[in-house]
C-alpha cells in the first residue's frame, strides 16, 4: 500500500535536493532517494527532471510569504522592512549555503531551460509588483520622496537581496544580508 502521496514526496525531496545541489548536479536518483520513492515511479508523475524542477520553482515562488506586506497597523515602509527582514531570516534559517532556489535556477538555467527561466522571471515580477505596490502607498503618504520610480526601486531591492543572498552563499556568512537590510532601510529609504 503506497504512501499518501508520491507526487508530493517527490516535490518535497526535489526541492531539498535542487536547493542544495542545483539542477544539473542533482540526479534523478538523488531525488528519488531523498523522496524515498522508487525510481520507476518518477515518470508517472513528471515528464522529466525539468518539469519537476518547474513545479519546484512554482511552489517555491508561491511560498514566498507576502503577508507582511499587508500587515495592518504598520506604515508602508515598515511593512516592506518587515517583509525583507523575514526574508533574510528565512534565508539564514534554510541555510546560507542553499541560497534562493529562484535565484539559483535563474542563474544556472537561463540558457538551458526556457520554461524554467520564464517561471523564474514571472516569480520575480510578481514579487516585485507586490513590493512596488506598498512602496507606492509609501510615496502617496509622503513616507518616501514623491519622485521615486517605485517599480524600479522594488526591482532594485529584490535584486540587491538576491545579490546579497548569492554572496552569502559563497562567503558562508550572513553579513551581506545584514548589510543589505541596514543600507536599504537606513540609507536608501531614509
Amino acid at each position: 500500500m503506497p504512501q499518501i502521496n508520491l507526487k508530493e514526496q517527490l516535490v518535497e525531496g526535489a526541492t531539498d535536493v535542487f536547493h542544495r545541489q542545483g539542477f544539473n548536479a542533482s540526479t534523478v536518483d538523488d531525488i528519488v532517494r531523498a523522496a524515498g520513492v522508487p525510481k520507476g515511479s518518477f515518470y508517472n508523475h513528471f515528464d522529466s527532471k525539468e518539469s519537476l524542477a518547474l513545479e519546484v520553482a512554482k511552489r517555491y515562488a508561491s511560498s514566498t510569504p507576502t503577508d507582511m506586506l499587508a500587515m495592518p497597523g504598520l506604515s508602508p515602509v515598515a511593512r516592506v522592512r518587515a517583509h525583507f527582514e523575514f526574508m533574510v531570516e528565512r534565508t539564514v534559517r534554510q541555510g546560507l549555503e542553499r541560497g534562493c532556489i529562484l535565484g539559483n535556477f535563474g542563474t544556472e538555467l537561463a540558457a538551458q531551460s526556457a520554461v524554467i527561466s520564464r517561471a523564474v522571471r514571472d516569480a520575480f515580477d510578481v514579487w516585485s509588483s507586490g513590493v512596488a505596490m506598498v512602496l507606492e502607498e509609501a510615496r502617496e503618504l509622503g513616507e518616501i520622496a514623491a519622485d521615486v520610480d517605485t517599480q524600479a526601486l522594488a526591482d532594485f531591492m529584490i535584486d540587491s537581496f538576491e545579490g546579497a543572498t548569492a554572496r552569502a552563499k559563497v562567503s558562508g556568512n550572513r553579513k551581506p544580508l545584514d548589510h543589505f537590510l541596514e543600507i536599504t532601510f537606513t540609507k536608501l529609504l531614509r
Copy 2:
C-alpha cells in the same frame, strides 16, 4: 609543429562556453570544439574540467578592470561611478544572457567545488576592497557621509550589481542594470 598555444585556446574557448552554459551543462567536448583543439589534448594541459574552470575564474577575476577607480581628475565618487558604468556596459556588451562568470560559478558551484568557491569569494573580496578604498577617500573628503561603513557599502554595491546582472540575465533586458546605476548614484551616494 603545433598551434601557437593550445592551452591558451582552451582557456579562451572554455571561458566562452562556461560563460554561456555554466559549468555542469558544458561538456569537455563542447569546450574542445569551441577551442578548436582535439579532445585528447585536453588533459595534457589541465587535470580536470574543474581545474580549467578554476583557471577561467581566476583570469576573469583579474580581467576586471579597476583602472577607472584610479582615474586622475575625478572625484572619488565619480570614479566609483565610472567604474560601475563601465562594468554595466561590459556586461551588456558581453551579452546579458551570459551574466558574470564569477556570480554564475559562485551560485552553481558553491556546494560542488570548494576550490572554485574559494576563488570566487576571494575575487569578490579583492574587488570589494578596491571599491571600499575609493569610498574611504570619498568619506575623508566629505563627499559621502562621515558615518558610513565604506567596506559594507562597497560590498552592498557589488552584491547589488551582481543581483542586477543575474536579474538582467533571466529577464533578457538591461533595465535592472540601469536601475542599479540610477538608484545607487542618485539616491544612495547622494
Copy 3:
C-alpha cells in the same frame, strides 16, 4: 521482459573473461560482450568492475569442490589425494592457459585492490583449513608422521599446487601439475 537474469549472465561472462585475460586486461566491453548483455546494464548490477571481480572471486572460491575430502570409505591421505587429483583435472579441463582465478587475482591485484586481495587470502585460508583437517585425521591415524604440522603442510600443498598451476600456464603443458601430484603423494606423504 528482460532475460532471466542479467546479473547471472554478467557473472558468468566475467568469470570467463577474467579467467582468460586477467583483471586489468579485461575491459567492461569485453565482459558485456561475453555475457551478451548491453553495456548500459552493467552498472545496474555492479558498482564497478572491481566489485564484479570480487563477486567472481567469491563464487570461484565457493565452487572449489571439497566433497572429495569427505568421501566415505577412503583413508584420509587417499581423500586428500583424490581432492588434488580432481583439482588438477579441473585445471587441465578448464584450460591450462587460464590458471586459477584466485591465484591470478592474488598476483595481479595484491597492490591494487584491498578487497579482492582479502577475498583471495580468505579463500586460500578456508581451503587450507579444510585440507589440514583431513591431514590431522591422517596424523591421528598414523597415516602420516606424528610430528608434522598439518596446517603448515596443507598450506605448502596448496602453494605448490598454485605454483604448478602458474607454471603450467606459462609453459603450456600439464607436466608441472603431474609432478606436483607425483612428488607430493609418493615422496612427501610417503
Copy 4:
C-alpha cells in the same frame, strides 16, 4: 648534458614499478617518473612498454644468483638449500608484497604477450636446469634416493617456491616461504 645512461635509468625505474604494480597497472608515465627521465625519451630506447618489460624480465632472470649452487665445500643438497634460503631472504628483503617479477609477469601476461611469456618460461627452465644439475650430483653421491627424477624435482621445488612467494604476497607474511624451506629440506630431501 644528459644523464649517464637514460636507458639504464629506464630499466631500473621500470623494474621497480613493474615489480610493485604489475604490467597493466603501470603506465608509461609512472615509469618515466620513477626513472626520472622525460616522457619523450622513452621511445628512443624502447619500441613499446612491452619491449621494456621484456628487457626487465630478462635482466631479472639473469640476476637470479646461482653461485650458491656451486659453492665449494658444501654437499649438493646443502648447496641447493643455501640457494633457496638465499632466494627466500631476497624475496623478503625486496618486500613480500612485490613477489617475483617472473612469476608475476607469467601469471599476468600469459594470454597477452607471447614474447614475455616465452622469456619467463625460458628463465624458469634455465633456473630449473641449474638446480637439477646439482640434484643430479646429489643423486650420484647417494645424498638423495637413486630413483628420483631430478629434473621433475627441481621443477617442483621452483614451482613450490613461486607458489609460496605468491601466497606470501597476498597474505602479507613470510610464513609460506618458511614452510616451503622447512618442508622441502626436512621432509622431502630427507
